[in-house]
């Protein structure tokens, strides 16, 4: 059995980067813990892992973990990661993004990474808000919910991130929450091991910018809400569409085998080189 605190400590950069920037009660730390345990489980060394992140509270994760780490520009983490993967396919690349990072400003890169099926693992920390900039509404803020730029309630229909990436061709799609931290470990280690583009959506409470404004209670209350409204995927499928309400499926939603980008590229190399190979 792995003792969490020891494992965690092994992967942190304690002398350089602490105290961290996250608020008390924030879910991102739980997501980071799950990521560390998942990596530990895969058996990769620190040098074999590259952690690329975007900009936002979630994007700060790359600062704290002792891998090859790259804190990019807002929304663009996947494109930097694509360049790294193509340059050195041996590296295992995990890309941490916020919901705004991944689906608003970086939405184009997300859908094309899915379509390309490039062998990266995307971890999207979905707190339903722009945390870092003070609580503006994001593409995943539910209708009618309040944000600093939606004081009268949001009028935009939110994305279902998992459905979006499934439709765009991702090879592996899973969802978990900060309440289901152990499931999150498992989803992440599966995603890292998966060849092709994989996406794990981690629902994560932002008590300060989202919870407070929308009367969601304490961080614990927010996590209990995840518990009460999450349904395993097989069970979710049995709920009649009209009765879904706020419930959402968790667990593995997509897991398919298909050639990844580099496998296809190797065919191009063969064609280009003709009989020289």
């Amino acid at each position: 059995m792995i003792r969490t605190s020891e494992t965690m400590y092994k992967y942190l950069r304690p002398d350089k980067t602490f105290p961290h920037v996250w608020c008390p009660g924030c879910g991102i730390g739980i997501v980071m813990g799950a990521l560390v345990r998942a990596i530990e489980k895969t058996g990769f060394t620190k040098d074999e892992i590259v952690l690329v992140s975007g900009i936002g509270c979630s994007g700060r994760m790359s600062t704290y973990l002792d891998f090859n780490t790259l804190h990019t520009t807002h929304g663009r983490a996947l494109s930097f990661a694509t360049g790294i993967k193509l340059a050195n396919p041996e590296l295992n690349i995990i890309v941490v993004m916020g919901d705004g990072d991944a689906t608003a400003i970086g939405g184009n890169h997300l859908i094309h990474s899915c379509r390309r099926n490039i062998d990266l693992t995307a971890l999207i920390v979905n707190n339903n808000i722009y945390g870092m900039t003070g609580g503006q509404y994001s593409p995943t803020t539910p209708m009618e919910h309040k944000a600093s730029t939606a004081q009268y309630g949001s009028i935009e229909k939110p994305f279902d991130i998992c459905k979006l990436v499934e439709a765009c061709g991702a090879s592996f799609v899973a969802r978990s929450t900060t309440y289901h931290a152990k499931m999150l470990d498992a989803m992440l280690s599966r995603a890292i091991a998966k060849k092709g583009f994989s996406v794990v959506e981690a629902m994560s409470q932002c008590p300060v910018q989202y919870g407070r404004r929308n009367k969601k209670g304490s961080p614990v209350d927010m996590m209990m809400w995840y518990k009460d409204n999450s349904v395993s995927n097989p069970a979710f499928k049995k709920i009649p569409p009209g009765e879904v309400g706020e419930q959402f499926p968790v667990g593995i939603l997509v897991d398919i085998e298909q050639p990844d980008y580099l496998e296809r590229y190797s065919k191009i190399v063969k064609k280009a080189c003709g009989d020289k190979l």
């Binding site: 950069r13 350089k16 980067t17 620190k46 040098d47 074999e48 590259v50 690329v52 790359s62 600062t63 002792d66 891998f67 090859n68 780490t69 790259l70 804190h71 990019t72 520009t73 663009r76 996947l78 494109s79 930097f80 990661a81 694509t82 360049g83 790294i84 993967k85 193509l86 340059a87 050195n88 041996e90 590296l91 184009n108 890169h109 094309h112 590229y265 191009i268 190399v269 064609k271 280009a272 080189c273 020289k276």
Partner: protein, 376 residues
């Protein structure tokens, strides 16, 4: 390969061949006239030499991908034009800030906005210097011929590696699309990334070394785990707001270029020794200017040419020196006077501009008109 004999090439092709010769092994780009031939050529050639070509979803991601590739130890390049160049600015600033070597080719077309896609321009001289926000270093090169598209692209990669900086090849649409018979040099100098001189525990990727020596950038995955960010960082690469560290970080970016102007700046002068009038021109316009010098000399006018090959850092000191000898400057450009402004800044001498923004090349006759009109 018979490639090193006489070849009929266009500028974009020569640029792509130069990149391959310099060891570029990853190209990421998005099609745009008049740069697209670079991507097309490399999509055919890169797979043959163990390299990777990828057409990204836009120019923003193209710039991101080449930065990523460079961090993984592979020389990388993108190519674009006006609108795409604008989209690349944020990540270009990232490369400046994080000190990631890479090469961006901008084959200039008429702007602003969609402008004149198929007509050449030199309208991005200032954008290439100041397009991204905040104080930052940049190196910008301007070729005037197909041969130079080849040799300067190699030079661009060398400078990028040597100074850990993005380098822009600022070509105009004429140079990019011009066909010339060229003999590529048999021997070229290629600078590769140096090995680190310290073990991982001592490695500070952003250290200020004595004498301004630049710390080698170790590729990700080689046991030197470090952090790279676009935030102001300390010598180890982690974000900082400590005043002295902030200042050190930003100063270093500027001074690594400023302290090496002699090495970075390349100019060419033509008939300047006894000149009364100095034309300052770059890119394809420099070819018209050279012809204007010949015509003027035939008429007994003492005219010479200064051609900045390195546009940024701008060859201020060269201009200052020349201004001690000449009576005036004439600055022809395919814009409203972007280099002209720099000439004015560099020396108090009289300077006139010859501008053209209708998508045509500045002609020798146009330059002569100004010279004769100046009637010394």
């Amino acid at each position: 390969m018979k490639r090193h004999k006489d070849l009929l090439l266009h500028g974009n092709e020569a640029c792509a061949m130069g990149a391959l010769a310099a060891g570029m092994r990853l190209f990421a780009g998005y099609p745009i006239t008049p740069s697209t031939e670079i991507a097309e050529f490399l999509s055919v050639e890169l797979p043959k030499v163990g390299g990777t070509f990828i057409q990204m979803e836009d120019e923003i991601s193209s710039m991101g991908a080449i930065i990523g590739a460079s961090l993984a130890g592979v020389k990388s390049m993108t190519a674009t034009s006006g609108p795409g160049f604008s989209l690349m600015q944020e990540n270009l600033g990232f490369a400046s800030m994080a000190e990631i070597p890479c090469v961006l080719v901008n084959v200039m077309r008429g702007g602003p906005s969609t402008g004149m896609p198929t007509r050449p321009s030199q309208g991005d001289v200032m954008q290439s210097r100041w397009g991204t926000h905040g104080p930052h270093p940049i190196i910008v090169l301007s070729p005037q011929s197909v041969l130079e598209c080849y040799t300067l692209t190699i030079h661009a990669f060398n400078l990028a590696e040597k100074y850990r900086s993005p380098v822009i090849m600022l070509m105009d649409g004429i140079v990019g699309h011009m066909w010339e018979n060229v003999q590529l040099p048999e021997k070229i100098e290629v600078i590769d990334r140096p090995e680190p001189s310290v073990p991982p525990d001592w490695y500070n990727p952003y250290d200020n070394l004595p004498g301004g020596e630049i710390v080698p950038l170790v590729p990700f995955g080689e046991g030197y785990r470090y952090h790279v960010t676009g935030m102001v960082h300390d010598k180890s690469g982690f974000p900082t707001l400590v005043h002295e560290e902030v200042e050190q970080c930003l100063d270093k970016l500027i001074y690594k270029i400023k302290n090496n102007l002699h090495d970075i700046i390349r100019i060419e002068d033509y008939m300047l020794e006894d000149a009364d009038i100095c034309i300052v021109a770059h890119g394809s316009v420099a070819r018209s200017a050279r012809e204007a010098v010949n015509i003027a000399r035939n008429e007994g006018l003492k005219v010479g040419l200064l051609r900045p090959i390195t546009l940024w850092p701008f060859p201020r000191f060269h201009l200052e020196n020349i201004s001690k000898r000449v009576k005036m400057f004439v600055v022809p450009e395919m814009n409203y006077g972007q280099v002209y402004g720099e000439v004015l800044k560099s020396c108090p001498k009289r300077a006139v501009r010859v501008t053209r923004v209708d998508g045509e090349l500045v002609t020798p006759a146009q330059i002569m008109e100004k010279i004769e009109g100046a009637a010394l």
